[in-house]
Amino acid sequence: MQTETLDKRAEGIAATLTDKLLAPVGATLACLEAVFPGITERVTATMDLGAIKTALNADVARSIQGLMDEGTEDSLTTAIGKVKELRGLVAGSTAHTQEEGIKTLAAFEIAYDGQYSKLEVRPGQLGKREVQFTLKRGAENLVLACDEINHAMKGAKNYPTRTDFGVYLSDNKDLPAGTNDIVVQYTPVIRDSGNRERYGEDAETSHTEFLKMLGLELVNNDLHRLATGALRIKEGFPKKSKDIGTTSDEGDLNEGLIVRTAKGVRSGAVRSYARGVSVNGWSVDFAYYMLVVAGASPRN
């Protein structure tokens, strides 16, 4: 993971959360934090929330309120000056990155629109967590894709046990026509078939590592590339379960987007690397594209 790139992207994301998007900032950041650990810190640093909090404290508010209560021409003029100053501080906290933010947002919206319209991480049943995507494709292909993935997962060497991992359609009837929710459900601390913890000793680390396995590794935990790159691996998911997690799975190139698959020197992890953000045609099953990332970047 390239920290510099992440920071730059976080800056861009921060900028997108300006007046227009900041209303649900807490919820947004909480959601992003679950997928991109550390994003809140980087975003808040960019926004300089500390300075805002210091400047807009209760004493300052009471001081302004006092001037208002006084109600003279002088006091009101002073109060207006103070409020304007504070408005400038708040607005200025994000203004310097706004231009980049708009570009990021535009790119994100383009990518987001064609593939899935929602990303949500939420608690599931029995302590599991669920990552839900809303995909704009027909149900039949998604069901087939889910079945295929689940079937392969069950027998996969070094993969989570079947109770730790599952892919299914959400059966959400409230979605617009032509869209479907696909849910990836997993246990935060994931164990392999030998009951060993595969991704970390605590839920947070495990969660992060698992999401990387779902494609975030190859997209550098980058929100924009998550929307574009993570859905790109077409035939990287091996048909034979015994091949999952082995280097025999080289990740068939999908229109040149997956440029190589390599095995890590220290960890032995197999990772696929993507290049480019354009997509040629949408005639294939996006859920399959997305979830096969799990088959293209496993370990050992």
């Binding site: 007046d19 900041l22 209303a23 900032v25 926004m47 929330l49 805002i52 909090k53 807009l56 404290n57 209760a58 300052v60 508010a61 009471r62 302004i64 309120q65 208002m68 109600g71 003279t72 021409e73 009101l76 003029t77 109060a79 207006i80 409020v83 304007k84 504070l86 408005r87 708040v90 607005a91 906290s93």
Partner: protein, 47 residues
Amino acid sequence: MESEKKAESEKIIELRATLEKELTALLAHPLVPEEFRKVFEDKKNAN
């Protein structure tokens, strides 16, 4: 004397309106801390 008082009153009303507008815009910003916002909300509720 009467007209001076009236002019002053109008000026105050104008300033209050400006202040109200500026303050509303400030408080609407999502980065404004809750403790800051609460002072004005409490005052409004008390009235």
